[in-house]
Symmetry: C2
Subunit: 406 residues, 2 copies
């Protein structure tokens, strides 16, 4: 059902990164649902996380460990259980599992970052997961990105990965990322689960800056259903295995590496929407000529979150009145109908509040029949703009989420 | 499909109010879709309207006419077309139709308030509507509330009405109201279409105060899908046909009359949610011990608008993790999981962020299997509270809105 999305064909290995998966039967048996990512010594790591007040136990531990003194050596990821809203017990479980993995890898527990995704409010099956760890460790290999992308899926229908190579002054480096997430998806400052690695020799500051820049124009610009998960996490790690010079934000190689990270993140973020729960359309929403970016995003999200807009997109119904309704309810101070123009791809529908004289219903229907298109909302108020990506609301969204735990 | 809702059995006539309907085939033929409400001379009228920036043409005219010098003599209501996002042409059409009605009734055009509901962005069929007006006028009668409630329906499945009688110092007065609306429904300061009449001799100030008090605890406390219509309007009219004393807000009879108006509005608002598009559950959401009412409402609406919560309610799935997720994403500053307790009816699920030791899945499932229940979220932060009413998100919501214009 995913919109113009297929599994990644090739993901470049990242020198200094090995990945291994295992089946722990966390929610159901019959699939790999546990992933270990091992990072070479000296790797620099940065993360961004959910702003949901009920941040899950693993998110809380990640925040602490990323600001601690111990260098990160491994990431432990599971699908099927979010370990969220589990109170002190959940923190205890996450600490215990990372300690087991740390012991097997010969590092401190604080060198392991935990990530969980799945059902909220249930305890992790700690014993089953611990028992599966040796299998994941035995399988660690540099070409494990594809199966890693599969192991972290929940209701995803397609594994999500993206990869770039960049020629730097000291040789070719790789940027490879994987992500999961299709619902409870409106990342705020962070996102879903996304893991992006590079073997470039980035400084800690460069890693942070790369990730924040990329997140702002990728994961923070997508929404499936407006629900912000308790577990959103995006992590960038740089193993520094290629080259000898440290690359900070002012190094000549930095812009091209940062651009590759951003490209990978945008492709992953778009993949998440293309595979949005029940999605049949992939829609780019552009709000232009807003007073500021905040206003532009406010309007874009009001449209993207409107159930009436989303069901019309599903039907391929050019019911542009619903777009107008959603713009009007966005709560932009002083916005009047006379400010607003609307276009579906190149088709002008509304011009400063008045129906465009050239518009005919079949022109709009032709655009909305496509699986992928752009809606442009012009506010005629200023110079700011925002672009976000979203999908429609179909029967299958309801089906998937009504039957999620059965 | 409506949840515990049947058509009103008896609606008391309101002295000084006559109602008449007609078929103008506005969207489709075969039903009455035009309503005229005639008010006796001297009636006092107040209205509250949508805060959507794209307020429809009739809403714009109502606002002007209610603050003008001419007393209101009639209301002209149509279903099937919202006359919204129609620019200057839409204003022209609404003015023309009210002028035709005014001419036939022998009053000024400014004495007629127009109301429209239905598809956005299409012109009213002015000629067909004008041609149907004589039939509506010929049929004006005091017992027309029931058929009026039917004539204003769009995707409503049940007509909505509520009625009370109140004994005052000068005799028995009636309060009767009708409403429509099942989707694009998250009124902000106003609502859907609701018309409430009384024959009490209320002063203009008392009419306004009655309506605003009632709206705050009724129409402004319901949401079906979080989408705020361009046409929301609620109007209270007092014909003053019973009694001789003017009843202002300090008159001894005022509290009991105001209470009856509030009761009627609450019943109408709840009826709208019970008949919410595709609704299979009627859910009362209580947020208690918030710092202030704004915070309480913010949390309540975050929960009520979450598609994941709504699909779980549809499924009767006690997936309380989604409730917790929605509370967490509400954006309440400083809220921590340790602040939050959660109960389904009397069943304690979460106690200050920790799963309640006595909770078992089947207890939650038993509550959510019912068509109607209360969810209580305790924030343990202060003394403020809010109650709102909402419904679930079902296949039929998607079906109704994907096929709305076909």
């Amino acid at each position: 059902m995913a919109v113009n999305l297929t599994a990644p064909v090739h993901l470049y290995p990242v020198k200094g990164v090995r990945l291994g998966v295992a089946e722990a039967a966390i929610k159901k048996p019959g699939r790999n649902d546990l992933l270990v990512i091992e990072l070479a010594a000296g790797s620099k790591v940065a993360g961004v996380f959910t702003q949901n007040a009920f941040a899950a136990a693993p998110v809380q531990l990640c925040r602490t460990r990323l600001t601690g003194a111990v260098s990160i050596h491994a990431l432990l990821v599971n699908a099927g259980n979010a370990n969220a809203a589990t109170g002190e017990t959940g923190l205890h479980d996450a600490r215990a599992l990372t300690a087991v993995l740390a012991h097997a890898m010969g590092c401190a527990a604080e060198a392991v970052l935990p990530f969980s995704t799945g059902v909220i409010g249930q305890r992790l099956p700690v014993e089953r997961m611990a028992a599966a760890l040796p299998h994941a460790l035995a399988g660690l290999h540099a070409d494990g990105w594809q199966e890693a992308a599969r192991a972290i899926m929940t209701t995803d229908t397609v594994p999500k990965g993206s990869s770039r190579r960049v020629l730097t002054s000291e040789g070719e480096i790789s940027v490879t990322g994987i992500a999961k997430g299709v619902g409870m998806l409106c990342p705020d400052m962070a996102t879903l689960l996304a893991f992006i690695g590079t073997d470039a020799r980035l400084t800690p500051e460069a890693v942070r800056q790369c990730l924040h820049t990329a997140t702002a124009v990728s994961f923070n610009c997508v929404t499936v259903d407006g629900d912000t998960s308790t577990n959103d996490s995006a992590v960038l790690f740089a193993t520094g295995q290629i080259g000898t010079q440290n690359i900070g934000p002012t190094h000549p190689d930095y812009p091209s590496i940062a651009a590759a990270v951003t490209e990978v993140c945008v492709e992953l973020a778009q993949a998440v929407v293309r595979d949005g729960e029940g999605a049949t359309r992939f829609v780019t929403l552009k709000v232009i000529h807003a007073l500021d970016v905040k206003e532009a995003r406010q309007v874009a999200y009001a449209v993207a979150h409107s159930p009436l807009v989303k069901t019309a997109l599903f039907a391929g119904d050019a019911n542009w009145g619903r777009l107008v309704m959603a713009v009007g309810k966005a709560g932009v101070p002083g916005l009047t109908p006379g400010d607003v123009s609307l276009a579906l791809e190149g088709v002008k529908v509304l011009e400063r509040g008045e129906p465009h004289p050239s518009y005919r219903e079949e022109m709009g229907t032709a655009v909305l029949a496509k699986p992928e298109y752009t809606i442009t909302i012009d506010l005629h108020r200023g110079d700011a703009a925002a672009t976000i990506w979203t999908c429609d609301l179909s029967y299958d969204y309801v089906k998937i989420n009504a039957e999620y735990r059965t």
